[in-house]
Symmetry: C2
């Protein structure tokens, strides 16, 4: 019956679009359709038999060690992910925080069934040399319309790692151009770089933070320090790593000053080592590393230190960006006019990329370049996602739901002090610590079998990453089930 509903939805979108496709005809005003299930519904334990069977099949082609279960995305909608065994789960992990407005949002189905968009789906251009006519317009109404303070320029990329890799390159290029007094590179620069040698390939570094995660390609990985398994066996760079504040909850900030001093010391030390710090990269909230927060003062201080030492300041919003903190960008909570030189994004923005100040645009073409440079079909979906966020006031919803979620977590934490601690969060970007990893595993598995999909982060945290359409009643639904689970495991 769910499927018939979906089919009707498809048919509806199609009918609408047969009209939409008539020349000169504008899209009918969108209506906010409620498109969600009324709660979890579990038929088997998870993974169920069909998932087990498909995992076996996929096992002949790929490593399946990380597979949770197989999904029926046609049947999934809103906050609910349906699996291939007919289990329907309230999704508070959303594909590692990458689903902005839930599954099968009617406005997205309508958009993608519009024949006027077919060409964008079948003709992927090399955006850096042959963009489509609507590229500037789509960028303007999507990414540029939510650009961070002080930034008017944006470069799209295909994924989060490519976004950070290219942001690092932009910082290295910017730094060396300063060193050269913006003169042309020397003959020695040009000949030495071809064979990976300095001065053409200089000994520059990016300063990153212990517990940070910025991706898994070799440049990004050199700034990632969350888990050994991500880094083991991959050659890396000798780059400085600063401690990230470890705050106590409720919030104290005594660690702040020390952390800032250490950053400054490292910048000086690496300059003396002959590996100057071209840029500092940091997440507004360390996500993968365990939902570690720091105070706005810490970030403001850090930004000043970077400026003082001539280092670029790169804020990685791949997981925090897109509205999940109640603002489009988590760094907006710092209340700064000049928060960063570069802000990278992916996940909920559906395309990777990075914003940057004018001075971080490469001086020559083909220095920041690849074949695809992103994907117009993702920009297309993103601009409709942003319309939905505005139309449905989703940032306010997130703030409201986030408050309800935090209050609930505080209550549970008071109720189960032996099991829960350090509840923390901004918007719905929340987390709580579990007494130990073993208990965390049991909680996550029990929750899944009761129809609640959650993810872990760090060594013993559970992270909450609902979509922006996660309303207060979803919060209460979750809290009730979560309470039962904790009572049962107590």
């Amino acid at each position: 019956m769910a499927s018939s509903l979906i089919s009707r939805q498809f048919a509806l979108s199609l009918k609408k679009n047969l009209h939409l496709s008539a020349p000169g005809c504008k899209a009918a005003p969108k209506t906010q359709v409620e498109f969600d299930y009324d709660g979890p519904s579990m038929k088997t334990s998870v993974p169920g038999p069909r998932s087990e069977e498909l995992t076996k099949q996929l096992g002949h082609i790929q490593n399946v060690g990380a597979i949770n279960f197989f999904c029926n995305y046609e049947e999934s909608r809103g906050n609910y992910l349906v699996d291939v065994d007919g289990n329907r789960m309230l999704d508070i992990y959303t594909q590692i925080s990458s689903i902005p407005i839930g599954y099968n949002h009617p406005d997205l189905l309508k958009l993608m069934s519009n024949p006027n968009n077919l060409s964008t789906l079948v003709n992927r251009p090399a955006l850096g040399i042959l963009p489509p006519e609507n590229f500037p317009e789509k960028l303007t109404e999507s990414l540029v319309s939510v650009a961070p303070s002080g930034m008017t320029r944006v470069q799209t990329m295909s994924c989060g790692s490519c976004s950070n890799e290219n942001a690092y390159k932009a910082m290295f290029i910017w730094y060396r151009n300063k060193e050269r007094g913006h003169n042309a590179p020397s003959e020695e620069d040009l000949t030495s770089c071809i064979i990976n040698q300095s001065p053409g390939c200089p000994e520059l570094s990016i300063l990153s933070f212990m517990g940070g995660f910025h991706g898994r390609t070799m440049g990004c990985l050199a700034t990632t320090h969350s888990k050994a398994i991500h880094k083991l066996d991959v050659p890396s760079f000798d780059w400085p790593i600063a401690p990230f504040p470890r705050l106590q909850y409720p919030l104290e900030e005594f660690t702040r000053e020390n952390a800032q001093e250490e950053v400054e010391d490292l910048i000086v030390k690496w300059r003396q080592k002959g590996k100057p710090v071209a840029g500092v990269v940091i997440e507004p909230i360390q996500a993968e590393g365990g939902d570690n927060h720091a105070s706005s003062d810490f970030f403001r201080g850090l930004r000043d230190i970077a400026r003082k030492h001539g280092c670029a300041f790169h804020v990685d919003e791949v997981q925090t960006g897109g509205g999940t903190t109640g603002k489009m960008w988590a760094h907006e909570h710092w209340g700064m006019e000049d928060p960063a030189d570069i802000v990278s994004f992916s996940k909920k923005l559906l395309t990777g990329g990075y914003y940057h100040k004018d001075e971080f645009q490469a001086d020559e073409p083909y220095r920041i370049f690849n074949t695809w440079m992103g994907d117009p079909s993702k920009n297309l979906i993103l601009s409709e996602v942003l319309n939905v966020i505005r139309r449905e006031n989703l940032l306010e919803e997130v703030t409201r739901s986030g408050k309800a979620l935090m209050n609930g977590l505080f209550e549970l934490q008071a109720q189960y002090p032996g099991m829960l601690s350090r509840a923390r969060g901004v918007g719905t970007f929340c987390a709580i610590d579990i007494c130990d990893d073993e208990t965390r595993k049991r909680i996550l598995i029990t929750a899944r079998d009761k129809g609640i999909l959650l993810g872990g982060c760090g060594d013993r945290s559970i992270r909450f990453r609902p979509a922006l359409v996660f309303k207060e009643y979803h919060v209460h639904l979750f809290l009730n089930i979560f309470n039962d689970i904790l009572a049962q495991l107590k």
Copy 2:
């Protein structure tokens, strides 16, 4: 009128799909539709006024130094790219060799307007943990169905650079596991890697070739040696770089043995340096570096050297793969049963990724991992592209067109010995050298204004990269216009 044609095409696909969407109804047998223009048609010089206007607009958001012109992808079809000023060009560059079966192929329009595929377009999963039900099936009928000899396993990624970065990681992990005797990593391994230090982050290297191109992220860039502008100012690794054979045309192979000896010497030298070579990476034809070919004997010898020294052998088919040489993979021309340990791809395959032998699968989950791990919507298009290649016998067409193209280039080279030399190619993957870069620029610009879109590579080559639907009559159409251009510039 072109647009009305397109609209009719859309309407047709849609009507068909209203049937297709009926439950249980199978797709009607596809018919091979000819869907192409009859020749170039130029209204303005390129870029025309509308392109200039849009370039100015985009200039407020991005570096536009590499923009050729803006395209009307709705109006483009088959081998013809239409720009926003109504110019229609025969496209022999195909978005840097990334368009497999031309623009707006009717079977792809039909596929993407099928409502049953909507969910794949609006719900992008985290493939590594929550794949869709049809994922094993789609992989099997697409990538696995064209797997290189000896390889049954494939990992999808979002772009070419991510594919090579992860292929390198797979080789490093494989190499270190051998060194550990496949025992668990030591405590020292796990603690040292978090801070980028050995033994956890070992001093291993990848051997690459002068003139090679493998991408622009920091790991890939350390193996790229085609042009200084790609590498300038980006820190790199001290990895060995071997000379690539520089063949004379018509083909002699006297350089072969030396090149192979140097590779062996470098492997020994870097082992002595304490930076052992975990893998050797090479393109079957160096594309970006200037369409440099090497003999099958050279590659066979190289593969043996890698095996002898315990190094992985990675063949990068990002540009050569997908049928453009008349075989699905260029390395098939070597006639080897065990051509490689890893084969990476992107571009014409529409998704990035790499095939690998079983032993190159990471021993643990989350070692080769990221949020998206590719994109099912690209696998969907790819499997239809492969159906079209089979249905329309496009590999045979490529072989036929390639012969005609090479014969034509040989004739022109004989006719204009002062301007053209070193005509070379396999299938339609062809190139010719121009006397100097200045003349090359003039040829490329004049050709574009006459409705022929070509690309350069290396320091003075023109590379031919038509789609697989580039037929013999397209070759002759091109040769006639090219002949006029050369006569005019002579």
